[in-house]
């Protein structure tokens, strides 16, 4: 088992002290890259001055653009990492996440993207102990967990409308070969990306262990799609199912 070097990208689009909890959970287990809009730079540097992290600022504020800026930084500054992982600012790594990544990364050397379980947790007031309340995208992962499909199957992914990219461990070469997230997607940019990856033969396999807690917080960054109508959601899903075929980030009409 070899020790895997991981770059964690934390996109942060608004002020929230929860980002420091996320950074704490990574600790020395990886390179922390916090990707923020320019407007947050002053606030972040004040709060995060004690953290051993890299802060990159952007003129764009959308989630995929913040992530893409982090990926660009990895490519230019730390190209030798084994994996890139995206961590939401209100999430935290599980205590044994690095041993899980080392173990599965070593045994599953040929797999491009390790997709561990993401545990949905809540926190009681005044208590830092996470309480497990669910697991994200387990419906998509269930056949994987039984190893009926081996790696993610493209047709299965077309039927399954959401794959959780946050918390996955992605080999950097995948971004080089098949591109980053499409910033024209207001939602389901990660679905389009995973469809594009699997269509191009990138292997994704579910790791039956949890490497991060996905926190249920009031100010969740990832809730936007729930505030729009089903009609809009379906249109963006349809867009993802059309656009994965194209490498370029084309303008999308919804």
């Amino acid at each position: 088992m070899t020790s895997k070097k991981v770059a964690y990208i934390i996109p942060l689009h608004k002020k929230s002290d929860l980002v420091f909890r996320a950074m704490d959970s990574i600790g020395d287990n990886g390179i922390v890259i916090v990707s923020i809009p320019e407007s947050l730079e002053k606030w972040f540097n004040k709060g995060g001055k004690n953290y051993n992290s890299v802060v990159i600022t952007n003129d764009k504020t959308s989630y995929p653009s913040l992530v893409n800026a982090g990926i660009k930084y990895v490519k230019e500054s730390v190209p030798d990492v084994d994996y890139v992982s995206i961590l939401e600012y209100d999430d935290v790594l599980t205590p044994n996440s690095s041993s899980i990544v080392n173990k599965y990364g070593s045994d599953w050397e040929s797999i491009d993207i390790l997709a561990p379980l993401a545990c949905v947790v809540k926190y009681n007031d005044g208590d830092d102990k996470p309480i497990l309340v669910g697991i994200t995208n387990e419906a998509a992962m269930a056949p994987q967990l039984a190893e009926e499909f081996g790696v993610f199957d493209f047709n299965m992914m077309l039927r399954t409308n959401f794959i959780f990219v946050n918390g996955c461990y992605i080999k950097p070469k995948v971004f080089e070969d098949y591109g980053v997230f499409k910033e024209n997607f207001e939602m389901f940019y990660d679905y389009e990306w995973t469809l594009r990856m699997v269509y191009n033969g990138v292997s994704i396999k579910t790791v039956p262990m949890a490497t991060h807690f996905h926190a249920l917080t009031e100010d969740g960054a990832f809730e936007s799609h729930r505030k729009v109508s089903k009609d809009i959601v379906d249109k963006w899903l349809g867009a993802a199912r059309r656009e994965y075929f194209f490498d370029e980030d084309r303008a999308i009409k919804i």
């Binding site: 599980t94 044994n96 599965y104 497990l132 669910g134 697991i135 419906a139 269930a142 967990l145 949890a210």
Partner: protein, 372 residues
């Protein structure tokens, strides 16, 4: 009946001392795969490989459990190597004073028949399941009611129970063995599936299904966990299933020592379950998620806890070590050592017993000569 003489008894002692005696093991004709039947066959084979003369007795002439063919090599005539079989039905079983007759705990009718026939051999109960002992006997009836004074038991917890209900019996313990050539871990632990293997509970599976439904109800986020039922699977398929499963759930409330958790331990499969009382010999909170027998709710909770701990990669190294340690008692070597030791002790005790009988016969002969 011919009068027994000291010379006859000298002959018996000589035969015992020279190992020229037979150990019969009664086995019911049972067509379904049974751990208990296999344990007797293993025992007999082990004895024969180590210089004893052990023989299986079945009831119907010509009967042989077909399902055992996957476990033992068969010779040209279709007989199991090192496991001779004779039949009660043949009616001409040679049984002498130097011989031993081992009877399973669930067959007091055999014990009674042998007592009624004044069978000259030493009779011993081979107890594999504490639960059947009193179920098979009538109230107030014990093994000594049939002239039996010895019992060979397969677990120390079971022996403790037997000592409590029948303190007048002498107990010895033998170990069974689980083959690490059949049950072994996968090449990589990352090959394990999020799957729970289980053997249904003895009530036709009702309690096991209730535990599974309770588990799904209590942990809806674990609905991706699959359960794989072990029913009528050939041994190698069963071993493969254990090997590929991350978890095993043990539903046996009445086991003597419980082979399945050891098979799971050897496969590096985590276990939650009931200890079946007899399994307390090795099942404990160090090596598994053990809960009180029959407690459905707590077993469902323990299963959830075990899966969550695994998912977090938080299984303590001590747990894996404790699983390995538990298996050490049930290796081929421990089985062999315990069997040789036990049967040598039986032989020695029988020699001493016959010597005592000889003294009594001699004394009685002297007294009758004096009277004349």
């Amino acid at each position: 009946m011919a009068k027994i003489t000291p010379k006859d008894l000298d002959n018996v002692i000589e035969l015992l001392e020279n190992g020229k005696y037979r150990c019969y093991f009664f086995v019911p004709d049972f067509d379904k795969e049974s751990g208990g039947v296999k344990l007797v066959y293993d025992h007999v084979r082990c004895m024969n490989k180590n210089g004893f003369n052990a023989i299986v007795i079945h009831e119907k002439e010509g009967y042989k459990p077909k399902w055992l063919e996957q476990y033992y090599p068969v010779d040209e005539d279709g007989n199991f190597e090192n496991i001779p079989i004779v039949y009660l039905g043949s009616g001409n079983l040679p049984i002498s004073m130097e011989d031993f007759f081992f009877i399973p705990e669930g067959f007091p009718n055999i014990m009674e028949n042998l007592a009624n026939q004044n069978a000259p051999c030493k009779r011993v109960v081979f107890c594999q399941n504490w639960y059947y002992v009193l179920n098979a006997l009538q109230a107030g009836q014990f093994w000594n009611s049939f002239g039996i004074s010895d019992c060979m038991s397969v677990s120390n917890v079971q022996t403790e129970y037997l000592k409590m209900i029948m303190p007048q019996i002498n107990y010895k313990q033998v170990y069974g063995q689980i083959s690490s050539e059949v049950f072994y871990p996968p090449e990589k632990m990352t090959d394990k599936k999020m799957q729970v293997a289980f053997i249904p509970s003895r009530d036709g599976g009702l309690k096991s299904y209730n535990v599974i439904k309770t588990f799904y109800a209590m942990f809806p986020h674990f609905r991706f966990i699959q359960f794989a039922e072990v029913r009528n699977l050939p041994r190698d398929d069963y071993a493969r299933l254990l090997r590929e499963s991350a978890f095993f759930i043990h539903f046996d409330e009445f086991s003597s020592w419980g082979t399945a958790p050891i098979e799971a331990f050897l496969s590096k499969t985590l276990v939650a379950g009931w200890d079946g009382f007899g399994g307390r010999e090795y099942m404990n909170t160090d090596n598994m998620w053990v809960v009180p027998n029959g407690d459905i709710l707590r077993l469902a909770m323990a299963l959830g806890n075990m899966i969550e701990t695994f998912m977090m990669d938080d299984i303590r190294p001590e747990t894996w070590t404790a699983m390995e340690t538990a298996c050490e008692n049930y290796s081929e070597t421990s089985e062999k050592d315990s069997i040789i030791r036990t049967h040598n002790e039986y032989r020695q005790e029988r020699i001493e017993e016959i010597m005592r009988i000889r003294e009594l016969v001699e004394r009685a002969n002297k007294e009758s000569t004096n009277d004349e």
